[in-house]
C-alpha cells in the first residue's frame, strides 16, 4: 500500500525530476537512500520504477537522510546474489539504468581492401589465390554483363520482367565462393551470382526468364525466380522473408543428419521488418541450427530508405537480442565478404549455431524493371556508389595489381560473355513454351480429379475459341 501511494505521489515528482536532471546519471545517483530505507521496511520486492519515484521523494526529507544511516552491505550482497530466474541468475542493482537505444558508436564494418583496391594495413584475411580470385572476379563481370543484356531484353519487350544485381556483385559472388557446394542456399531474389558460381549456365538463367520448356520452373513463375535442385539452390519466391524460417528447418535437418554443411539464406534490409525475420532468428538460436543469415543491406526497399525501415544501427545489432553472433561487413569488398562468410560458415557448422552477417552494399539499379528509382533518391547518390564504391571496379583493381588480370582480358571477357548471353536469348526465344499439361501437374504429386476435369474443360474451350489463346504454348 505504501508503495502504491509512493508511486502515485512520486509520479509528478518523477516528471519534475526529469526536467530538473537532464541525464539519468544524475537522477540515478540519489537512489541508494530509499533503497535501504525500503528494504528495512521489508519491501524487498519493490518494483524498480516505484523504487525510483520513492527515492526522489525521500531525498529531500529529513526522514530520508536519517534512514540513510540504516543502510548496510547486506543489501549490496543480496543484490549481487540476485534472483534465480529461468535462464540463469539475474543480479539486482539499485541503479535504475535503461539500456540505451543504441550504442554511441555505430558497429564498425569489417573490410580488407579500400575503395582503390589497396589492402588495409594489418587487416587479417584468408589468402585468396589466383584461381579463386579470377573466378570470383569473372563471375562478378558475368553477372554484371548478364544483367545489362537481360535488362535491355526486358526494355525491348522480349521478357516481361527483370531484376538486376547491380552494385551487389561482390556480396553475390564472394559469399558463394566462401561456401561449399553442399551448403544449401535459400535465396531472396537478388542473389543469382550464387547460382552462377555453382555452375548454373547463362542458358539456364535465360530459359527461366523466357519461361520456355527448358525452364526448370516450367514457365510458372515470373523471370528471375530461379531454382535448381542439383545446385542446392531453393527456388525463389516473391514474398519477402518467407525463406528465413524455412532455412532454419532445413538447417535443423542438416544438424540431425550430422552433415558437414550449413544453410545460407539471403535477404534484404526491408526483410528485417517482416515477422518471418524475427521468427527465424529466434528459432535458429533456440534450435542451435547451422544457418548463416546474410542480409544485403543495400539501403533501399524499393523506395523506402533504411531510415524509414528501422531505427536500430542497421541489422547487425538485431542478432544479439536473439543470442546470435553477428558481424557487419563491407559488402562491396569482395575479399572481406569472402572472409566473413567463410568464417561464419565454419562457426555455423563446427559450433552448430546461427550467424548473422550484415553486408553493407547499395542497390545501384532500380528495384526492378517496373521501377524508376530516380523518382525517390538522388542521382548523385546512385552515381557515387556506381563509380567510387563500385564493387566490381574495386576488386578489379586488387586483382589487376596482383597481375592476375589485364585490360585486354577484361575487354575480351566482357565481349565474350555479352555474345554468350545474346546467343542464349536467341536460343531461348526459339525454344517452345512448356506444354499445357504442365499447367495442371505439380499442384499435387498426383493430378486430382478436379484438375483432370478442369484440364478437359480448358481443352474444349481452346477448340471452340483458339483465337483467344497464345499460339506458342503446345497443346
Amino acid at each position: 500500500m505504501a508503495l502504491r501511494l509512493a508511486g502515485k505521489r512520486g509520479l509528478n515528482h518523477f516528471t519534475k525530476t526529469l526536467i530538473l536532471n537532464t541525464t539519468f546519471r544524475s537522477y540515478r545517483s540519489s537512489t541508494t537512500i530509499s533503497d535501504s530505507h525500503q528494504s528495512k521496511r521489508g519491501n524487498d520486492y519493490s518494483l524498480f520504477s516505484t523504487n525510483g519515484f520513492v527515492s526522489r521523494r525521500f531525498e529531500s526529507t529529513e526522514a530520508g537522510s536519517q534512514l540513510d544511516v540504516l543502510s548496510s552491505d547486506d543489501d549490496e550482497e543480496q543484490n549481487q546474489l540476485g534472483v534465480n530466474f529461468p535462464g540463469g541468475r539475474v543480479a539486482f542493482t539499485s541503479e535504475m539504468t535503461f539500456l540505451p537505444e543504441s550504442n554511441e558508436k555505430r558497429v564498425q564494418c569489417y573490410r580488407v581492401i579500400d575503395d582503390d583496391g589497396y589492402p588495409l594495413p594489418s587487416t587479417q584475411f584468408h589468402h585468396v589465390n589466383k584461381e579463386l580470385a579470377v573466378k570470383m572476379y569473372s563471375g562478378m563481370v558475368t553477372l554484371q554483363t548478364m544483367d545489362t543484356v537481360l535488362y535491355e531484353a526486358q526494355r525491348q519487350g522480349r521478357i516481361s520482367f527483370y531484376v538486376t544485381s547491380n552494385g551487389e556483385e561482390a556480396i553475390n559472388l564472394a559469399s558463394a565462393a566462401a561456401l561449399s557446394s553442399n551448403d544449401l542456399i535459400l535465396p531472396q531474389y537478388r542473389e543469382p551470382g550464387v547460382l552462377l558460381w555453382r555452375g548454373f549456365t547463362l542458358q539456364e538463367f535465360v530459359n527461366q526468364c523466357f519461361g520456355n520448356k527448358n525452364d526448370y520452373g516450367k514457365g510458372r513463375q515470373m523471370p528471375i525466380h530461379y531454382g535448381s535442385q542439383k545446385h542446392n539452390y531453393f527456388t525463389v519466391s516473391s514474398p519477402i522473408a518467407t525463406q528465413l524460417p524455412q532455412a532454419v528447418g532445413a538447417a535443423y535437418s542438416l544438424k540431425m543428419d550430422k552433415k558437414d554443411a550449413c544453410v545460407v539464406t539471403y535477404f534484404g534490409d526491408g526483410s528485417t521488418s517482416e515477422g518471418d525475420f524475427h521468427a527465424s532468428l529466434n528459432f535458429a538460436a533456440v534450435m542451435e541450427a547451422p544457418v548463416v543469415f546474410l542480409c544485403r543491406n543495400n539501403g533501399w526497399a524499393i523506395s523506402t530508405p533504411i531510415t524509414e525501415q528501422f531505427r536500430s544501427d542497421g541489422v547487425v545489432v538485431k542478432g544479439q537480442a536473439y543470442g546470435i553472433r553477428s558481424i557487419r561487413v563491407d559488402g562491396n569488398d569482395a575479399l572481406a565478404s569472402y572472409n566473413a562468410v567463410r568464417v561464419a560458415r565454419e562457426m555455423a557448422i563446427n559450433e552448430q549455431r546461427p550467424i548473422l552477417i550484415e553486408a553493407l552494399t547499395y542497390r545501384v539499379g532500380h528495384h526492378s524493371t517496373s521501377d524508376d528509382s530516380t523518382k525517390y533518391r538522388p542521382v548523385d547518390e546512385i552515381e557515387h556508389w556506381k563509380a567510387a564504391r563500385n564493387p566490381v571496379s574495386i576488386f578489379r583493381k586488387w586483382v589487376q595489381r596482383k597481375g592476375w588480370w589485364s585490360d585486354n582480358e577484361e575487354s575480351e571477357f566482357r565481349s565474350n560473355i555479352r555474345k554468350q548471353v545474346i546467343h542464349a536469348i536467341q536460343v531461348a526465344e526459339k525454344t517452345e513454351k512448356p506444354s499445357l499439361g504442365y499447367m495442371f501437374s505439380d499442384v499435387y504429386e498426383e493430378v486430382p480429379s478436379n484438375l483432370i476435369e478442369q484440364e478437359r474443360s480448358v481443352r474444349e474451350t481452346i477448340k471452340r475459341h483458339p483465337q483467344d489463346f497464345p499460339k506458342d504454348v503446345p497443346l
Partner: protein, 358 residues
C-alpha cells in the same frame, strides 16, 4: 487457456451418448475388432507414435509439445524418441510452419502442431504462399510434401472467439494443400497417418470437442485410411447429409430423429475437404434427390457453399428441393450465445423436414 478446455469432457457430458452412438455405427465397428477402446487424443497420440517409430526422419514439434501438449496428444513421445525429434518451439506460428516447410523440403516428415486452429493465421502466408506452391513453383525441383500441420479446431461449449473457430474454408481455397478432418478416434488415427505419409502438405484439423469425448475401438497397429475419399456412414433414401469432424455426431442425431418421423437420411463424412470426393456425394444425391450440408464455420463462404454449387451443377435436374445449409452464423464465434450460434440437431432436423416437404 488450455486448462479451461480440459473441462470439456465433464461439461459436455450431455453430448457423450450422442458421440458414442456415432462411433459405434456399423460402418465404424466393422474392422476394429482387434483394438482397444480409446479416445480421440489417444488415437492421435498413437498415430504420432507410429509415425515417429516407422520413419526415423519424422519430427513432431510445436508450442508445448515437449511435455505432451495442452491436449495431451504428444504425451510420452519426447521421452520415447528424444528431444531432438519431439520438441517445443518458440511461441510463433509462422515460425513453426516455416520451419516445418524447410524440414520437409529436406526429405523429412515434419509434423507441426498449431495449438489452436484459431491461432493458425500468423502462419497463413507460409501455408498459402509457401507450402502450397512449393512444388508447383519449382517445377517439382523441390517439394515440402512431408509437411503435416495439425490444429485442434471447433466449438467446445465455452471457447469463445479464440478457442472455437473452424477455419477450414480458408484453406480449401488454396490449390496445393490438402485439408483433412476426422470424425472419430479410429478415423483420426488412420487419416492422420495417411496425411503424414501423403506426399503433399496437409492441414489436419482435429475436433477438440471430441478429444476426450469420443471413444471407440481403434486398431492398435499401423493403418491408414484413404484421403480424398468420402464415406457413407449411414445409408438412406430421402435426403443426403454431408458434413465433417465433430458436426457429424450432431447430424447423426438429427438423422435418427428424422427416421422416427419416417424420413430416411443418408449421412456422408467428407473426411478430406480438398481435393474432395465429389463423386460419392453426387452418387448419393442422385439417389436421394436432396442435399443438406452442415458445418460449424460461418455459412457465408463456408465450404458448404462450394459443395452446394458443385452438386447443383451436376445434379440440377435430379434435385427436388433447394440445397439446405445448416451452419454457424455470420458472427464472430460468441461465448454466451454459442447455443444459438451452433448448427444444432433441431436446426438440422427442421431443415431436413423442410427440404423433404419442399
Amino acid at each position: 487457456m488450455a486448462t479451461n478446455l480440459k473441462k470439456l469432457g465433464s461439461i459436455l457430458t450431455k453430448q457423450a451418448s450422442l458421440v458414442r452412438r456415432l462411433s459405434s455405427s456399423p460402418s465404424l465397428a466393422s474392422d476394429g475388432a482387434n483394438g482397444k477402446s480409446i479416445n480421440l487424443y489417444t488415437a492421435i497420440n498413437q498415430a504420432l507414435q507410429i509415425a515417429l517409430d516407422s520413419d526415423p526422419r519424422s519430427y513432431v514439434f510445436g508450442e508445448d509439445v515437449g511435455f505432451g501438449g495442452v491436449f495431451r496428444c504428444t504425451t510420452g513421445l519426447a521421452d520415447q524418441f528424444g528431444k531432438h525429434r519431439v520438441f517445443n518451439t518458440p511461441l510463433c506460428e509462422q515460425g513453426i510452419v516455416g520451419f516445418g516447410i524447410g524440414l520437409a523440403a529436406m526429405g523429412n516428415r515434419a509434423i507441426a502442431e498449431i495449438q489452436f486452429a484459431d491461432y493458425i493465421f500468423p502462419a497463413f502466408d507460409q501455408i498459402v504462399n509457401e507450402a502450397a506452391k512449393f512444388r508447383y513453383r519449382s517445377g517439382n525441383e523441390f517439394n515440402c510434401g512431408g509437411l503435416t500441420v495439425r490444429a485442434p479446431y471447433g466449438a467446445v461449449g465455452h471457447g469463445g472467439h479464440y478457442h472455437s473457430q473452424s477455419p477450414e474454408a480458408f484453406f480449401c481455397h488454396v490449390p496445393g494443400i490438402k485439408v483433412v478432418i476426422p470424425r472419430s478416434p479410429k478415423e483420426a488415427k488412420g487419416l492422420l497417418l495417411a496425411s503424414i505419409r501423403d506426399p503433399n502438405p496437409v492441414v489436419f484439423f482435429e475436433p477438440k470437442w471430441l478429444y476426450r469425448l469420443a471413444v471407440e475401438e481403434v486398431p492398435e497397429g499401423d493403418y491408414t485410411l484413404p484421403l480424398s475419399q468420402a464415406e457413407v456412414i449411414r445409408e438412406g433414401s430421402d435426403i443426403t447429409l454431408v458434413g465433417w469432424g465433430a458436426q457429424l455426431a450432431v447430424m447423426e442425431q438429427a438423422c435418427i430423429d428424422a427416421e422416427k418421423e419416417g424420413i430416411s437420411c443418408e449421412l456422408i463424412d467428407l473426411r478430406t475437404l480438398i481435393p474432395w470426393d465429389k463423386e460419392t456425394v453426387e452418387a448419393s444425391v442422385r439417389k436421394t434427390g436432396r442435399l443438406l450440408i452442415s458445418h460449424e464455420a460461418p455459412v457465408t463462404g463456408g465450404f458448404g457453399a462450394e459443395i452446394s454449387a458443385s452438386i447443383v451443377e451436376r445434379c440440377f435436374l435430379r434435385l427436388e428441393a433447394p440445397v439446405a445449409r445448416v451452419c454457424g452464423l455470420d458472427t464472430p464465434f460468441p461465448l454466451v450465445f454459442e447455443p444459438f450460434y451452433m448448427p444444432t440437431k433441431n436446426k438440422i432436423l427442421d431443415a431436413i423436414k423442410d427440404t423433404v416437404n419442399f
